[in-house]
């Protein structure tokens, strides 16, 4: 089910909330958690019930392995070593994810390398599989290291499936989540949280429906339809995607955090104005940082541990490897692998720069960072390397700056006219394409972000008016189904 659908907003959400707090009021707290689990699974199965057994299997598998790991020390007879169980659990998850996510990519590449024609399996990626697999891997690691005390199956299942975060994060940690589902204080309807939750939810919905979906048309035309792009078109397409991705994904996170708040569940913040970052280290502290934290703790740290004696060069290698794996985690494709490698490389350069104490002014740092991030997102968006090459070539001017047959600009073209349509032909744009993009860029760079707005939120006539205007405007424009970009990962 999508957050940006009427059935979610007017049916699923109010019914789920209502029954949840009704059960809590009757002091049926176990039933209320069971209800939330049931609702989350219904949310997951809304389109395709086929994947429900898969997520249930994954939960039961990891819960069982986690249980065995946690109880292992107290067993009298230890048939299999703790390490053996842990490795089995880890491999189980990796095989599970690899089969659904990377099998066809692997077969395709084998076919190319050995010029054979093994048929692709045409496996459809189950929604959210990348997310629920890595959060559960973290759970297994913590069970193995003896950190897990709370092991109730119900709160574990709820931590994995809780519908706001299930499909596209933020990436949760069991230690932060499971106690929240157990806490009695969270079981009472809290009007402050409810109002903050709705406020944040509607800001997120606005970001998705009004901003991201508007930009998606330009992006689609530029990346998928057009065969070659001149410099103006290529930059318009790539910048449009950079902002589409941010507003889509951070909008999703806002909505997830907002819905969580309505249930008195605090989900971790995921974005902090990433496009204001002045270096690439800073960028990863602001962009999807629930993932950054996960990578640092569960990828970077164990790689460093395996090196024993730490040197700067080794920590750079670990950084690169961690980002490389993060690239592959995003998707099965050479574009994602390159994307991860570029970010790994950029982080290494940034750390070297810092270590040498080389100078960098903030405006220049911002320009390099944003320019790099924008170029790297071309790889992230393009369906294949050829499409990425097309856009990148256009951006550096392979096909000229302007279309060959553009009319000369006259003053009456200002703001409208054929001039803009011809200028933006490759991205099917018109006079408003450029102005909208510039307005969104300025808005992103100057304004406070949604989390800052939510933290400063105080009920007043002014904020009510603001919330009513954006929610009403969003609702009447919510007439088409459009999926979130991060659902594909």
């Amino acid at each position: 089910m999508l957050f940006n659908s009427y059935e979610f907003l007017f049916l699923f959400l109010p019914v789920t909330l209502g029954i949840y707090f009704f059960l809590n009021k009757k002091r049926l707290t176990v039933a209320s958690n069971a209800w939330l689990l049931f609702a989350s699974l219904a949310f997951y199965s809304w389109w395709n019930v086929k994947y429900l057994p898969l997520i249930l299997l994954s939960i039961l598998f990891n819960y069982t392995i986690g249980y065995l790991l946690a109880e292992h020390d107290s067993l009298k007879k230890q048939v299999v070593s703790k390490r053996g169980i842990f490795v089995f659990g880890l491999l189980g998850n990796i095989v599970f994810l690899s089969y659904f996510k990377y099998m066809d990519f692997f077969i395709g590449n084998m076919n190319t390398v050995f010029t054979i024609d093994f048929p692709l399996l045409q496996i459809v990626l189950p929604l959210g599989i990348s997310f629920f697999t890595i959060t559960q891997i973290a759970f297994l690691v913590d069970c193995y290291e003896g950190l897990v005390e709370d092991r109730k199956l119900l709160s574990y299942s709820l931590f994995v499936t809780f519908f706001p975060h299930l499909l596209a994060g933020p990436i949760l940690h069991h230690k932060e989540m499971m106690p929240q589902f157990e806490s009695v204080r969270n079981k009472v309807l809290n009007y402050k949280n409810l109002s903050h939750g709705f406020f944040l939810f509607f800001i997120g919905l606005f970001k998705k429906v009004i901003i991201a979906d508007e930009l998606s048309k330009t992006v689609k035309a530029g990346f998928d339809t057009s065969t070659s792009l001149n410099m103006v078109e290529a930059w318009t397409a790539s910048l449009s995607y950079t902002f589409q991705l941010y507003f889509d994904f951070s909008g999703y996170s806002d909505m997830a955090i907002g819905v969580g708040l309505m249930f008195n569940i605090l989900l971790p913040v995921n974005f902090n104005s990433p496009y204001k970052a002045v270096n690439i280290i800073d960028f990863w502290k602001r962009w999807h940082f629930s993932l950054t934290n996960f990578i640092t703790t569960y990828l970077y740290s164990p790689i460093m541990r395996s090196f024993r004696k730490i040197t700067f060069a080794k920590s750079m290698l670990a950084t690169f490897i961690a980002m490389f794996i993060a690239g592959i985690w995003h998707g099965a494709g050479w574009t994602f692998i390159l994307w991860g490698a570029f970010h790994g490389g950029a982080l290494v350069v940034n750390h070297l720069w810092k270590k040498r104490k080389l100078p960098m002014s903030s405006p220049l740092g911002w320009l390099f960072t944003f320019g790099f991030v924008n170029a790297s997102f071309v790889l992230f968006r393009a369906k294949n390397l050829a499409d990425a090459g097309k856009v990148l070539k256009g951006m550096v001017g392979f096909n000229g700056i302007l279309p060959a047959t553009h009319p000369h600009f006259v003053l009456s073209d200002l703001g409208h006219g054929q001039f803009w349509k011809l200028l933006m032909a490759g991205v099917k744009g018109n006079d408003s394409t450029l102005w909208t993009l510039i307005a969104i860029m300025l808005f992103t760079l100057v304004c406070k972000n949604s989390i800052q707005l939510e933290q400063n939120f105080k009920p007043s006539w002014k904020t009510l008016a603001f919330a009513v205007v954006i929610s009403f405007y969003t609702l009447i424009n919510m007439n088409k189904v459009s999926e979130f970009l991060y659902f594909q990962f």
Partner: protein
């Protein structure tokens, strides 16, 4: 054992700054070179010094020196 006093030389070496004097309130914001990379170096230096081992899942919660001291004390007590 005064864990806090033992930490200052470790911090000075890992973060390459002889002016550092750690208190329980010291956080990553107070030490220029304390970032996610050097955090791991520091943690591993503390592990060697006290002959203990932190779990991966414990690392993110070690964002101020007080937490580090408490967790180290807990680990030493268990030994």
């Amino acid at each position: 054992m005064d864990i806090l006093a033992e930490l200052t030389p470790i911090f000075r070496e890992v973060f390459d700054d002889d002016a550092i004097v750690v208190t329980r309130q010291t956080t990553a914001n107070d030490v220029d070179a304390w970032d996610s990379l050097s955090h791991m170096n520091m943690v591993m230096a503390v592990e060697v010094k006290f002959n203990i081992r932190f779990a991966l899942g414990e690392l993110p919660s070690l964002r101020n020196v007080g937490d580090l001291v408490d967790l180290t004390a807990k680990k030493l007590a268990k030994k």
